[in-house]
Symmetry: C2
Subunit: 277 residues, 2 copies
């Protein structure tokens, strides 16, 4: 074990990056190419964000789309045109270099994953930082609520619901949701806790009766791995950050760059600071 992990000029593994506490230092390590892995569990307590970069002639509609659908697309930050920074989320933060991995989409199709987008950056790009479920899950576990998928070492169960989002320009589509099961009293508490965090999906969008949002078969329709739950538990459904990705597939912009799933933007703000009360 090397406590001074940062001083060694080599790539860091997940265990090593998790020993670094300062989010700015973690961004520098990612920026210098020394960490390119997943960000789950990295910089615990700090807000991690979904990233979406679009050309300016799509950005206004996308901004409207997020504003109209805050549950699946909660806006944390919008950059100025051509400016790779999110004021207020980290002084040195540069969205071109500070994520471990980026996905590049052309006309709605994934074309490549890269670790740096300096060469792709354009003066007409606008970057969007969107709230992520890591933040509300941190709030839930901080208050002692169990998360089944975490206990199982899995991602939350994800579904394509029948809930239509409010369109904006070419952006439209159905809401993607994630499911977390809870016992009834915990379900009530989970609603209370996540209601305090509207910037990171907020309260659930649905509870209990999956068939009402187009989910007839919880196991067969699960997009990720199904998370089983007991007869003494109720499924809660939250808006999911994959929703804007479906909207972008509909809009088919010539270029769009996002974070690679599970490789998020780490910011300087604490999850707890997002509580509205």
């Amino acid at each position: 074990m090397n406590a001074n992990v940062v001083g060694v000029d080599r790539s860091l593994d997940a265990a090593e990056i998790k020993r670094v506490q300062d989010p700015a230092q973690i961004r520098r390590l990612i920026r210098s190419g020394r960490y390119a892995g997943r960000t789950g569990g990295v910089a615990p307590g700090y807000v991690q964000a979904n990233l979406c970069i679009l050309p300016a002639d799509y950005a206004d509609d996308f901004l409207r789309y997020c504003q109209r659908n805050p549950k699946p697309c909660p806006l944390l930050g919008v950059s100025d045109v051509g400016d790779p920074r999110f004021p207020g989320w980290g002084d040195d933060l540069d969205v071109r270099t500070d994520l471990p991995s980026y996905d590049v989409f052309e006309h709605g199709e994934l074309t490549e994953s890269v670790s740096d987008i300096q060469a792709l950056w354009r003066k007409d790009f606008v970057a969007f930082a969107l709230g992520c479920s890591y933040s509300f899950e941190y709030a839930l576990t901080s208050e002692g609520l169990p998360l089944r998928h975490v206990d199982l070492g899995m991602r939350p169960a994800r579904y394509n619901s029948s809930i239509e989002t409010v369109p904006a320009g070419p952006f439209r589509g159905r809401m993607v949701v994630t499911m977390r099961p809870f016992k009834p009293a915990e379900a009530i508490r989970a609603i209370q806790i996540t209601s305090r965090f509207p910037m990171v999906h907020g309260a659930p969008v649905h509870i209990g009766l999956p068939h009402l949002i187009g989910i007839e078969d919880m196991e067969a329709q699960c997009v990720t791995n199904f998370i089983p739950y007991g007869e003494d538990e109720i499924p809660l459904f939250w808006g999911c950050g994959v929703t804007p990705q479906l909207a972008i597939e509909h809009a088919r912009p010539p270029i769009c760059i996002t974070h690679t799933p599970a490789h998020m933007l780490i910011t300087d703000r604490l999850n707890a600071s997002l509580a509205v009360m």
Copy 2:
């Protein structure tokens, strides 16, 4: 129609009392014997309270019982020993005269209902005002949520749950709950709204799965009239103000005086003023 209902020296009917807006004036009408009916819909917007009066040698335990079980027994006010007032809830308020009807219990058994308890009042009596579901129902309907039992002109469906309350001295028993059905998105909203009102039962104690709290048959086990609900709705269960009545039946104090069901104490405070945020 007589707009100046108060000037006429005769009893008022429900329609007439509902035209009086000022809670202090309503208490005066009740005090003078001119209204002895139900208080539902009277002084809309103002807090109505359940009343419970006990001798001092039972009052300390009952106070502890309420403090330990705030969901079914939310304490609004406790009088000084022998003092029939609730400071802060109405300057002229007198619990001996200001309710339309009182129930008198001896050793846990109902012995009579009376319209005035001045003759029964003792220097060792302590009065308790407990929050009532009228207040959170007012909050729910103010925010546009439908209440099925109100639409049907009925009381909420009431059940004796299997949830044990925390005992205090001789006071103990299971929690009585009321059920209100909602569509899933409304259920989430109802939890958010009622969470703001802990002094009047607050958030539900249970959601969804009735058998987990001892209710195997929603219709057969309903103590009041069953409120039917659809397959697209979820039952929400709140702690009920009848819970302390069961605890009093267990404790069997030599005397206890309560409001007659649906004949509540009307206070000077607005329901909205009870919101904690």
